[in-house]
């Protein structure tokens, strides 16, 4: 027992049926520090934090908060003890405004039992100011970007008086600038005596902001290290249990005719506000084109316009000189484009369907999988088993498992396996590695590069600038719905790209 520790977890054991998710895990977090928890997808980090937050019960072990033993029965108890959590998948109510979401469950009532929004607004605005967030309190959550939704979650936790904050993959959706701001915020918080725990796969961030780091591998506690004495390579090998190769090999391709072209694309939203203006772009065979930009600058609309989820006002989208704008996703698929959408649970998978069923969702009518409208179960299962093996989707042999039971990273692998198995000419990948660990990211990157080597075109839309620079042959910067610059990735200068991303001149 040590009062200098905000959190202590000793010998935590958690079993799901026969599966042991956590086996004697140890965690000690110093008060007023930033503590990182590192581990692969499915290693048990989130489970550990869900136990701390009172979401899951545990089979064995001891938890101490500020030196006092606790046993949380629900998140309510945890919140009461000053613990706040920002989940990887946000727990927000979409049709409510930001303000309503923040006060929800913590409403302070004024006269006659009405919610005192004015008082709440004042308090929240003070918080927002103190931590330099940019949030529109009156916007509806369904209308704001993923990045902003996360900020809402953070403010929500702070508003509930949290002094220990758990961040589950906080930077996965943020731009470099936003990440920089967030690390600043975290440091501010610790200076004010708050304790921060972050679960992350991004090793640079650990070295940048955390002081100590606990490493978990396959449910087992590996070690706790001081971050100062470590470089990212050492952390990565501790996490994965083997050496990790960070750089991907790319071969320069000779220029060819563009296979995919976007010409003067203009898209307006329902209110008539221009979301994409006069946007032009091309992708060649064997080329990865990265779209870099700050969240909410038209990336989502670009993706939706290509897949005909929204109507294009003017301009053309052509693949192999066939126009596909304002058609439907089916036409897009039939013309050799597949997509890896950003929100894998909302747009990617049917969570209540099995892995095998999800893997065929774009190929239902293919003679390989159905005849006269009847599904060929044995062939579907065989193809699924092969893809699970090839893409290392865990747990192995999960064909008959519902996708809901898979971890986020493995759900993403299902989507990627499905996309590539179609043998498309062009892959539109939106944030393909969001929330994944280095091992899995390496895997996804390799898969994309492999497709590129086969002569496929890839349009990579990502908020992670490092990812874009690492994979792309050419980088296009999007700002306010317009392409403000295109570079060869070799000549790209991070500073210049950063300026263009926020709307500066080239």
């Amino acid at each position: 027992m040590n009062a200098a520790h905000a959190i202590e977890m000793h010998g935590i054991v958690k079993r799901f049926g026969n599966f042991c998710a956590l086996d004697e895990v140890e965690l000690e977090v110093k008060k007023g520090s930033i503590h990182a928890i590192l581990g692969e997808n499915g290693a048990g980090k989130t489970t550990l934090m869900n136990i701390l937050y009172g979401l899951y019960d545990y089979n064995k072990g001891q938890i101490l908060v500020h030196g006092k033993e606790v046993h949380f029965k629900s998140p309510r108890d945890a919140i009461h003890a000053g613990i706040g959590m920002v989940h990887q998948h946000f727990k927000l109510i979409e049709p409510y405004t930001v303000l309503q979401n923040i006060v929800l469950g913590y409403e302070k009532k004024g006269l006659f039992g009405f919610i005192d929004y004015r008082k709440a607004r004042k308090e929240i605005e003070a918080l927002i100011k103190a931590y330099h967030f940019k949030i529109d309190l009156d916007a509806k959550v369904r209308d704001i970007s993923v990045g902003m939704q996360q900020r809402v979650e953070i403010v929500k936790a702070l508003y509930r008086g949290a002094d220990i904050l758990i961040f589950d993959e906080p930077t996965a959706v943020l731009t470099p600038q936003e990440i920089h701001e967030l690390t600043g915020c975290m440091k501010n918080m610790t200076e004010e005596g708050k304790t921060v725990i972050i679960i992350t796969h991004k090793l640079e961030e650990i070295t940048q902001c955390a002081s100590r780091c606990t490493i978990i591998r396959r449910g087992k506690f590996i070690t706790e290290v001081a971050v100062d004495g470590c470089d990212t390579k050492k952390l990565a090998s501790l996490m994965v249990g083997r050496e990790v190769n960070f750089s991907v090999k790319k071969q320069k391709k000779a220029g060819t005719e563009p296979m995919f072209e976007i010409r003067n694309l203009t898209v307006e939203d329902r209110q008539g506000i221009c979301r994409l203006s006069d946007l032009s772009l091309e992708v060649h065979h064997g080329e990865i084109v990265g779209i870099a930009g700050v969240d909410g600058n038209g990336q989502q609309e670009l993706f939706e316009a290509i897949s005909s989820l929204i109507m294009v006002k003017s301009g053309t989208i052509t693949i192999h000189s066939k126009e596909i704008q304002n058609t439907d996703p089916k036409t897009m698929l039939e013309n050799g484009i597949t997509v890896i959408p950003e929100d894998r649970q909302k747009d990617g998978l049917v969570l209540d369907f099995t892995v095998a069923e999800n893997l065929i969702s774009q190929n239902l009518s293919a003679p390989q999988f159905s005849r006269h409208g009847f599904l060929k179960k044995p062939e579907i299962m065989a193809s699924s088993a092969a893809l699970i093996e090839k893409y290392d989707i865990r747990p192995s042999g999960c064909s008959a498992l519902k996708c809901r039971a898979l971890s986020g990273g493995n759900q993403q692998k299902v989507i990627i396996a499905r996309a590539i198995a179609r043998n498309p000419d062009l892959i539109i990948a939106v944030q393909p590695t969001r929330g994944m660990d280095v091992g899995a990211i390496e895997f996804v990157h390799k898969a994309l590069i492999e497709e590129r080597e086969k002569g496929k075109g890839i349009l990579l839309i990502s908020l992670d600038l490092d990812e874009i620079l690492k994979l792309s042959d050419r980088v296009a910067i999007i700002s306010s719905g317009h392409i403000t610059g295109v570079f060869d990735a070799q000549d790209a200068d991070k500073g210049k790209i950063g300026t263009l991303m926020v709307g500066g001149k080239n």
């Binding site: 049926g17 290693a43 698929l333 998978l349 209540d352 369907f353 969702s361």
Partner: protein, 373 residues
């Protein structure tokens, strides 16, 4: 968790809920001054003591098995079909018209009645689907509006000289060629009556005393077809996929609007079939004045729920529901306790089945079985 285990759990839930329902009904009986054992004894003897009672239960289960399937089909595609009443009426109105106004040989006439009734209600369902997909009209609202529209259409039609039978508050009967009774013609002939009453076998009694008809066979066939549709076909895959995640389905190239319209049409068609089979299979084989809806639609929701949203489950839950409903009248006649006591029992059962799935979700959350990370 494997399928077998899941079914077992669902079955345990249903049995538990049933026990709780009967206990609660028993308590109310005691409080109102009746002996629950006597009342339940009357209930069960009212169901099982004579072959004709059992036949009645089966006959009355046909429409609610179908409306249950109808609700299930819509629900699998993410739709809430509150319009089974109206679709049922569509089926029965068309059945009554085709059955009484047209002439075909036996058998073919029955087919013509069923096909036209099913087509008409499928079209109604398609309209509801189109209203939803094209103009965003919530299906619950349009369904309820159609329910009342069809109720009054029914009442209006049977006042028109074209359809009204003179000296009756009802339409003309459909022709015997369109009936779906088992041995319908023969059993009313003198020879038939003589043969049946002389034989003394329980089946003969069923034939003689009830409207035993082929409806239940058709309902079971429909349930099996729906089961195969969802288990084995691409169409079933698409229909369910749209219900489970509309965004992911759209992005996978599944035409979601088309599937929603199809699901609603199929759902309505099955309710329409229920209406048609009631007209062809049961006395008085005609439309009558309706003050309120007959309740088949809402019973269907209960049947689908008790049947754990499984097509095969609907057969059994439909029979179960019909059993309690039919048996309740003997409670009243034999012990004097209000037959509504069975409504209370059924309500309690549904309530506890709904709660038990809630319990399961909570339990699962706590154990963290929903996610392995």
């Amino acid at each position: 968790m494997n399928m077998e285990k899941l079914i077992k759990i669902q079955l345990t839930n249903i049995i538990l809920a049933t026990v709780v329902g009967f206990i609660l009904g028993g308590i109310v009986l005691v409080l109102t001054g009746y002996n629950p054992l006597e009342a339940y004894g009357a209930l069960f003897s009212g169901i099982f003591s004579k072959p004709k009672y059992i036949a009645q239960v089966v006959i009355k289960s046909t429409p609610i098995i179908l409306t249950g399937l109808s609700f299930l089909v819509a629900f699998k595609s993410g739709l809430f079909n509150m319009g089974a009443e109206g679709q049922y009426l569509t089926g029965s109105i068309v059945a009554a018209i085709v059955g009484s106004k047209l002439d075909f040989p036996g058998g073919i006439h029955f087919l013509a009645v069923v096909v036209s009734a099913v087509t008409a209600s499928a079209l109604l369902g398609a309209v509801i689907g189109i209203l939803k997909t094209k103009w965003g009209v919530n299906e619950v609202i349009s369904c309820i509006m159609f329910n009342w529209f069809l109720l009054y259409l029914n009442n209006y039609l049977i006042t028109t000289p074209w359809l009204k039978k003179p000296n009756a508050e009802a339409s003309y009967e459909i022709h015997e060629t369109a009936w779906s009774l088992v041995a319908g013609k023969w059993k009313t002939t003198e020879k038939g009556i003589a043969a049946l009453s002389g034989s003394g076998s329980p089946f003969a009694e069923m034939l003689l005393r009830t409207d035993l008809n082929y409806g239940i066979v058709i309902a079971v066939i429909v349930a099996v077809i729906i089961y195969i549709l969802y288990k084995k076909t691409t169409t079933g895959y698409r229909l369910q996929s749209v219900g489970a995640n509309i965004n992911a389905s759209r992005l996978s190239g599944i035409p979601v609007e088309k599937n929603i319209i199809c699901a609603m049409a199929l759902s309505a068609a099955i309710s329409g079939l229920a209406g048609a089979l009631t007209i062809t299979g049961m006395m008085p084989h005609r439309l009558s004045q309706l003050r309120v809806h007959e309740g088949y639609g809402f019973s269907g929701i209960a049947v689908a729920l008790i049947g754990a949203n499984s097509p095969i489950g609907c057969i059994f839950s439909g029979l179960f529901y019909s059993m309690l409903e039919y048996g309740s009248s003997s409670i009243q006649s034999k012990t004097g306790a209000a037959s509504e006591i069975m409504d209370l029992v059924i309500g309690t059962i549904i309530f506890f089945i709904a709660i038990s799935s809630l319990f399961r979700i909570v339990l699962k959350k706590k154990k963290g079985e929903s996610k392995h990370e």
